[in-house]
């Protein structure tokens, strides 16, 4: 019944869209008087041309995978969680509190503790909007937006008045003890006998992010809860008919979503900064929205989209470093990528469908 082969839909369409996005970006680069070819070269080499570039690309990817998955889980339940940013901030707070308060003997234990704290804090920050939506009908889009602002205020307060070491001018927590430092991919590669990604922040969290992709895929498409989340997200009356409780699903989906957003903190707070800084989440919560939507709300797609955004982030810095191009160009390129692959994809798909239909007709005739 499909209008075109699946591979064309899944691979060809996004590729052409991506190409269009980059073509327009090239025009923008030309317009500000730089060479697009040079820029592309710098970006690709800087982000993917060395283990160093990959180390950073994968570090950003890890952040976006977590926030993308967070948006996705809520989305399947028909909930639009704009609060990933605040939940990620709270996750960072949880990580900092747990790592500073408990004398962890080994990083592995610390990681478990930090994951629990990050997930718990993120989940709790999502719980209130979820509960308000389920019980009071308060629109989750508003409440999660508000909770982002409230989280920023809370973090600001905690860092300036509670967690900041005496005498430090930096609104940041103390550094976490060395025993809690996560192994970097570099260390892991060394242990296996080769050198990879020296001095890059990519760390073991990447594997946790990949594991999260698999687990979330299992959750959504292989468990009863996932089935119920999807059913509820598609049709609330049908969910009621089937005995699925809207309150339960709303709350559970948002808890999982918030926990995932919170979990991002093990990568940026625990894995990279090794302390909590004011601006820790850095908009990754918002990027997560784009990543989830572009990844078609599927973990595999989300991983690819996160990789794309990781590439843009890392390539963007290299661009700023080696060419006279302002960092905002990267924001424009991101915007174009989101626009073409996410919103204007039918512009590519429609003619493609027609093409495949006419090919099929010819063959049929």
């Amino acid at each position: 019944m499909d209008k075109m082969p699946r591979w064309a839909d899944v691979i060809l369409t996004p590729l052409i869209s991506l190409f269009l996005a980059f073509a327009i970006s090239a025009l923008v680069i030309l317009a500000i008087g730089e060479s697009p070819v040079e820029a592309l070269k710098i970006m690709v080499e800087g982000a993917l041309g060395s283990s160093y570039g990959w180390g950073y690309t994968l570090y950003y990817t890890t952040n976006f995978v977590f926030t993308g998955l967070a948006v996705m889980v809520a989305y399947h339940a028909g909930l639009f969680n704009i609060g990933g940013e605040g939940q990620a901030m709270l996750g960072g707070l949880g990580v900092a509190l747990v790592l500073l308060a408990v004398p962890w003997p080994h990083w592995s234990l610390a990681l478990i503790g930090a994951m629990a704290a990050a997930a718990l804090f993120g989940a709790l920050w999502a719980l209130i909007p979820a509960w308000l939506q389920a019980r009071r009908g308060s629109h989750i889009v508003i409440t999660t937006i508000m909770f982002n602002f409230i989280a920023a205020g809370l973090l600001n307060y905690m860092l300036v008045y509670v967690l900041r070491p005496q005498g430090s001018g930096d609104p940041a927590s103390a550094s976490f003890p060395p025993a809690t430092h996560l192994p970097k991919l570099y260390d892991m590669a060394l242990a296996m006998g080769f050198e990879w990604g020296k001095n890059t922040p990519a760390n073991i969290s990447l594997f946790i992010a990949i594991a999260a992709c698999v687990l979330i895929w299992l959750l959504i498409w292989r468990t009863r809860l996932g089935y119920e989340i999807r059913a509820f997200g598609k049709s609330e009356p049908a969910a009621l008919y089937a005995g699925i409780s809207p309150v339960r699903i709303t709350v559970l989906a948002m808890l999982i979503s918030g926990a995932l957003a919170g979990l991002m903190a093990i990568n940026n707070v625990m894995g990279e900064a090794e302390r909590l800084v004011l601006n820790a989440a850095e908009g990754a919560g918002f990027i997560g929205i784009a990543v989830a939507l572009m990844g078609r709300n599927h973990p595999f797609g989300i991983f690819l989209a996160a990789l794309l955004f990781g590439f843009l982030y890392q390539g963007g810095l290299e661009l700023a470093l080696w060419a006279n191009i302002p960092r905002e160009l990267i924001v424009v390129i991101q915007a174009l990528v989101i626009l073409f692959t996410g919103a204007l994809d039918n512009m590519v798909r429609m003619p493609l469908e027609r093409l495949f239909l006419s090919i099929r007709r010819k063959r049929g005739a």
């Binding site: 019944m1 999807r230 059913a231 009356p237 049908a238 009621l240 008919y241 089937a242 005995g243 409780s245």
Partner: protein, 534 residues
Amino acid sequence: MTAGPGAENATPAIELRGISKAFGPVQANKGINLSVPRGTIHGIIGENGAGKSTLMSILYGFYRPDSGEILIGGKPIAITDSQTAIRAGIGMVFQHFKLVQNFTVLENIILGAEEGPMLKTSLGRARAELKRLADEYELQVDPDAPIEELSVGHQQRVEILKALYRRADILILDEPTGVLTPAEADHLFRILRGLRDEGKTIILITHKLREIMEITDNVSVMRRGEMVTSVKTAETNPAQLAELMVGRKVLLRVDKAPAQPGAPVLEVRGLRMVDADGVERLRGIDLDIRAGEIVGIAGVAGNGQTQLLEILGGFPEAGAKLSGEVRLKGEVLALKGSDARARRRAGIGHVPEDRQVEGLIMDFTAWENAAFGYHDAPEFQNGPLMDNAAIRADAVGKIERFDVRPPNPDLAAKNFSGGNQQKIVVAREVERNPDLLLIGQPTRGVDIGAIEFIHKRIVELRDAGRAVLLVSVELDEIMALSDRIAVMFDGRIMGERLPDQATATDLGCLMAGVEPDGDAAAAMQAHDRTGAAR
């Protein structure tokens, strides 16, 4: 083909030549020719998905044909959008009404046909015109009532008024009676005859052969996108039409042995329900159903049947207050809150009235839908995960046994025709072998082939000693299937009848809230008053 009354006019009102339309790979219409003489009622029948709605939508400019020619009054015309169709004098009442739910009747009627940029003048004129039309054609509706508060029958009147307001000469009605009570349908037919006698041309799509025989002058049969035949109604008969339509012989009557009622399965005592707005929707229902019998509930939609089914199914609308007692096999069922899951475990199966909104997740595949509501059954679990292989295998079996077409478990529910969607729901609920099956509007919009099949399954379930509660606005269906008939009106059960003793007029009176001995005119008036659901 030959013309009906008014045949002296040689040029047909509508002529379609070689109309083809494809939706992607689906060829919905293939080279269709059709000619409809002026001043006739022309019936079109065909299985679900045969392409009837598509063809009419093309005529109305909703879809554009891939090829073919349309002639109105003998003149070729390119109908590129509905505006052109309206100007050519075509009006259409769609299968799924195209009304804005939170607009008033008046607003819906003037939408797109306003006079001038200000609403006030348009509304004033429309109000007067509406009154004239309403009087002339017996199409009374409250012009200021919001659509969402009207019964479907009244919503349909609004659709017809919309077309008449636009001075349509050609009126297309796509399955208009699917949602009407017999009284409403009769009323509609009276109007249609009146319109025909005025010289208007009417195309009527329906799945009900009785209606074709009763009202049409000519009838065309469609199958799989093609026009199979067009004949004078007087020269054919239902069995022949059914065979033309489905391509095989169809049994038009339900064949069932007398019921052998056993122990009571469902006992309802004094069930009351007040909804969130404080309106009392059920006013003390007493009802018993025994094992091995089908109890049919007849009634105009909106008299509490929906609420009754939902309460028994375990999901009363939010904020409703319930009282009374419900027992299943002697066990008292808790009436608090919403727990459809517990009801299923207790042995109640439920085919909901609206399959697309409640019964199915339209974006789920057929196999996922085949377990919907039973997805927590132990046989579908595999440790912490769901056993998708088992669910799929189970679904494949159901699809085969219920002849769901196309037999593709991976197709999304929305891509099946209405009849086949219904088969998926019925298969899911019937094959669970519930002690009590609640079934609402089992064959709404379903073609006769599928109706025959679904009816057979319901009777088989009864014969296996199960209790069935059937709610339908189709009196024919109620009469054909039920072992006992209860009539609901305004949240009460007005009376019970045995099918062989009940007559349509008798039931009609009860449905209008009048004891059968009361005079018929009062009944009709009462019926009109209750037309508004709230």
